[in-house]
Structure formats: structure tokens, C-alpha cells
């Protein structure tokens, strides 16, 4: 019944050099939950999604989307889809 929510969590986490454990502690989740979110096996609640976004100081739509994300290089260099 639930829709697939796409996310850029793994990429942002790697870019900011934040471990799953550290992120999990910061948002009050289990480190495995972060892994399941990254793999698309679990859709976080709005509460958890907002906490993750706040941790990275990003708008929630920068991390989560109902549509697949375009590759960042396409967004930066403007390649048309």
C-alpha cells in the first residue's frame, strides 16, 4: 500500500562523512534503520525524515522524494533528461 520513497541519504551521508551509527544516535533511531532507509527497504515517518533533514541542515525534499532523483552531475551541469 505504501509508495516507494526515493532518497539521497547514502550519498549525503558519505559526502558529509557521517557514519550510520552517528546519524542514528542523532535522530534517535537504530543504525540498521538508517541502512534500511538507504536501501529503500523502509520508508521513514515524517517525524524521522524531518529529524534526518534537520541533522544535515537540508530541506527534507533534498533528501526524500516520491520521484527518483536525477544524478547530481545532471543537476549541476544541466544535462537534459
Amino acid at each position: 500500500m505504501s509508495e516507494q520513497v526515493h532518497n539521497r541519504l547514502a550519498m549525503v551521508r558519505a559526502e558529509r562523512k557521517v557514519s550510520r551509527q552517528r546519524l542514528a544516535e542523532a535522530v534517535g533511531a537504530h543504525y540498521q534503520t538508517i541502512g534500511y532507509i538507504e536501501r529503500g527497504q523502509y520508508n521513514p515517518s515524517l517525524d524521522l525524515a524531518l529529524k534526518i533533514a534537520r541533522f544535515f541542515e537540508l530541506p527534507v525534499e533534498a533528501l526524500f522524494s516520491l520521484e527518483p532523483f536525477r544524478p547530481l552531475t545532471d543537476e549541476i551541469y544541466g544535462r537534459k533528461q
Partner: protein, 183 residues
């Protein structure tokens, strides 16, 4: 994780997230084997306990004692595989784990409903055929069903737990060394 975790909660969280036995539950096949072994050990222990209570043979008690240690080990492995899903209090679980726990308990309830039905039908059929004394059968059957009802969530949890994220081994070490998530 809306409430403050107690010292007991933190200790249990650390215990349930220790990575030492990870090799025993790393794949779905190994988890199925552990659960199958746990089912066999539980049923054998149950039979031995009933033999101790209802029978007169002393060796059954020694068999029960011999079964207890591997049963405890198998229980520990399943608990470690599920990261204490059924052992930790709600306040030590996050939203995904609480949802998983509800799903596991619901499935186990459905399973024990069928076990109860089978037990009732079996006892009813034997009584109808006049082959057994219903009064003598009541206690062992009821106790066996109680044990299945009690432990079924652990079996379901062990069978349904998903593989951890790829780099879990590294993160698992971190988990053992660092405190549980703040409430």
C-alpha cells in the same frame, strides 16, 4: 523512542547489539537453521519437562538439563539476529523496530490460532474415538500450546528478519562500543 531509557534498557540494548555471534545469523539460510534447531530443542525440552512432571523416570530430568544449554544458546542467537526485537522494551526500539515487532506478533498470533485449532480438533477427535482419557490429555496439550504461543513470536522474528546493511560489521562494532540512541 519517546521515553527516557533506563540503565537496564541501555544494558539490554548493548547486549542485544553485540556482534560476536553475527556469523551464525549472517544469511537467511543460517537463520532458518537456527530457528529449526530452536523448534526441535523447544519441543524436546517440552517433552522432557512433561516427562519429569508426569512420568517417573529420573533420566528425563537429566535430558532436560542437557537440552537447556543449547536451547539458551539458540535463543540468544535469534535474539541477536533480531537485535532484541522481542526482548527490548518499546522505549528502546525505534519506529521501524516497533512496526516490525507488531508485524511479528500478528503473524505469531495467526500461527498459534491454527495450532490451537489443531490441538482442539486433535483432542476432540481422540476423545470421540474413545482412544484416550481427555482428563489425562488436558494438561500436556494445554501446556504445549502455551509454550508454542509464548515462543512463536521468536520463531517468526527469526525467520522474517532481513539481512543487515552491507557494512554492518563495521557499524556493528561501533554499536557495541557506543551507547544506544538517545531518546
Amino acid at each position: 523512542m519517546t521515553e527516557q531509557m533506563t540503565r537496564y534498557d541501555r544494558r539490554m540494548f548493548e547486549l542485544m547489539n553485540r556482534p560476536e555471534a553475527a556469523v551464525l545469523y549472517a544469511t537467511a539460510r543460517r537463520r532458518r537453521l537456527v530457528v529449526a534447531a530452536h523448534i526441535v530443542l523447544t519441543l524436546a525440552s517440552l517433552a522432557a519437562w512433561l516427562g519429569t512432571v508426569l512420568g517417573e523416570s529420573a533420566w528425563v530430568m537429566y535430558a532436560l538439563l542437557a537440552l537447556l544449554l543449547p536451547w539458551c544458546v539458540a535463543t540468544g542467537v535469534i535474539n541477536a539476529a533480531t537485535r532484541g526485537l522481542l526482548e527490548l522494551r518499546h522505549r528502546a526500539l525505534d519506529e521501524r523496530q516497533i512496526a516490525d515487532k507488531r508485524r511479528v506478533v500478528t503473524r505469531a498470533h495467526r500461527l498459534t490460532t491454527w495450532v490451537l485449532l489443531a490441538a482442539a480438533a486433535g483432542v476432540g477427535a481422540l476423545t470421540w474415538l474413545g482412544e484416550v482419557d481427555t482428563e489425562a490429555l488436558a494438561f500436556p496439550v494445554l501446556f504445549a500450546v502455551f509454550v508454542v504461543h509464548w515462543i512463536a513470536p521468536l520463531w517468526v522474528a527469526g525467520l522474517t528478519v532481513a539481512d543487515g546493511p552491507v557494512d554492518d560489521e563495521v557499524v556493528g562494532d561501533e554499536a557495541a562500543a557506543s551507547p544506544p540512541p538517545a531518546a
